[in-house]
Symmetry: C2
Amino acid sequence: MRQVAVIGIGQTKIDEHWDKSLRELAGDAALAALKDSGLERVEAVYVGNMMSGSANHQQHLGAYLADWIGMRGAEAIRTEAACSSGAASFRSAVMAVASGLVDSALAVGVEKMTDSPLNEITAALATAADAEWEAGNGLSFVSLNALLMKRYMYEYGWEKEHFAPFAVNAHANAMHNPYARFHEPVTVEGYLKAPMITDPINLMDASPTGDGAAAALVVPLEKLHQTNGRKVIRVAASSAATDTMAVHHRKDALFLKAAYNAATKAYAQSSLTPQDIDLFELHDAFSIMATLSLEANGFAEKGKGPQLALDGEILTNGRIPIATRGGLKARGHPVGATGMYQIVEVVEQLRGEAAGTQVENARIGMTQNIGGSGSNIISHIFAVTD
Amino acid sequence: MRQVAVIGIGQTKIDEHWDKSLRELAGDAALAALKDSGLERVEAVYVGNMMSGSANHQQHLGAYLADWIGMRGAEAIRTEAACSSGAASFRSAVMAVASGLVDSALAVGVEKMTDSPLNEITAALATAADAEWEAGNGLSFVSLNALLMKRYMYEYGWEKEHFAPFAVNAHANAMHNPYARFHEPVTVEGYLKAPMITDPINLMDASPTGDGAAAALVVPLEKLHQTNGRKVIRVAASSAATDTMAVHHRKDALFLKAAYNAATKAYAQSSLTPQDIDLFELHDAFSIMATLSLEANGFAEKGKGPQLALDGEILTNGRIPIATRGGLKARGHPVGATGMYQIVEVVEQLRGEAAGTQVENARIGMTQNIGGSGSNIISHIFAVTD
């Protein structure tokens, strides 16, 4: 198997981009990654997207984007795995290059959600849950996560205020990220006073949607053409796993089994342990997901996720920095693009380009993108090459 | 790069499956392929599907199907490339196994189209065209193909009746395929009398939609566990290419450039030429697409596609048999599943299991799945191993 390296990244600000079409948004990130890489052409394009079929009346985003960015002829498909669609496009790019069938691949995550009425977006998001057993009975993603959070608080004795550090940290970091949706700090008091959505999840537990695109370009490590003088970032591990589609089918709903399995595979592939990871861009779609993800990945014991946050260990100078560029909570969560933002941000950190929230001496970074309520997990570990 | 082999296939009849849910339909094909392979588990599942988000209010089909068929834990994503979504899932499976990251992968194509009103299905199909420049101006897929057919007839002097052999051959072959949607022979007279849809495309030029699922299981050729006594079929080539999204952007709309490029790559990968191909499962969504595909793949000169059909060379005992199990025209075209049906049918032929329409001594078969109006092409060549 060929080793794979990231040599280009690009992203757009997450916002309400009413002045840009879907193709312009995706194209901006894709072309930025191309420019950053120094390459002029790629052989393959993988587009991670969840809901353009309903939100933008446009599918077939592979050919659509390849055409728009001047890569006519390149092979191109869309990957969809609900909110983990972005990382799915990256894993497809990694596999394509690793297989030897392709020598350069561009992974692009894009979602344009603000053109449609909110009720349609909520319905589109619900297609990531089980239509017959969850969505059809009225469960939205907020309510699914509210059930998890409520049970977690009951089982482990945490109070609402103990989850505040997740939002506080994310919003503080986003202040330094020009691509983040929000540049507004949040205090513990502000967190506690935020409007309730579905008890116990309030507005500061939930990540905002939005329009955004992020991209990364990969090539075989053995065939590095040029890298514009930047550090080469190696894909040290790429793994994925699924869990039951419906949450009620799990023996223990408070253990993200697929996250644990994907992480275990990633650690094995890279011969690394959680202790070796310098930063972790996790899927903090809700505070409870950040908590469960930290636990499933080996950074906190079961039921102890909030303690890590309360101890300040998730800050950029803590033991395991998370949401270093704002995370889903404050950078924003354009669903099919999120996984690619996570990857772009880890590459920024490992290159030393994360101005304002740079993790010192970061050499190994991890991402974890979650689809559905933990039903699809895609993990990556990246390392600086010397 | 590891060589890849197909060791299991499965399919459902294409029909109006009102008695089956989306997961049951996909599961039936997937489990049939597993049983056929002799394996009990796979590491990865790739689901090709175009429109379940709108037609079935369900996305995230990777985790959804893996869960349903008892492959909880396996990594799983959906691939979408409009009508070439099925072959995209197979190519993803091939890349995963070729890369060494995965040792067994199941590719499943599924589409359940008959639960929704026809106007919604037409709208969903149109998301494969360019929303801003084609669909938004009222162009459906039938009208796009009608424009191509009309121009083709004008440029090369063919009459309507010269396209009859495509429908006649497809329907004759489907008579022997228990999984085909239609088991009704068509005559030249019947073809000419069929109701017009969009001049010059009549009902016998167009393929029917429907509900269906097909699946294939691939493993590394070097790690064949067991094959239930059946011939092992090697993936001799896997390739893909795109063209402009909108037809009007092409210099020559009557030349499927992406099909030519994908075929050229496939021939190079396998060190084969069109002369070596024993049968070709092509994408006869419309008679004109069959014509253009035969030309782009090197089986007929430009403008001469209908002659091949008129000469009987597309019959199972002809020079290049096509639609040997009914093709899109008579087996049916459940869009996201079609590419997998083509692959399953070529494997049937190479195994010698195509009762009634067996191509004698078939040792090398080719498939070509087309997304949009030729904007996304995925080609495969399969060979019997000795």
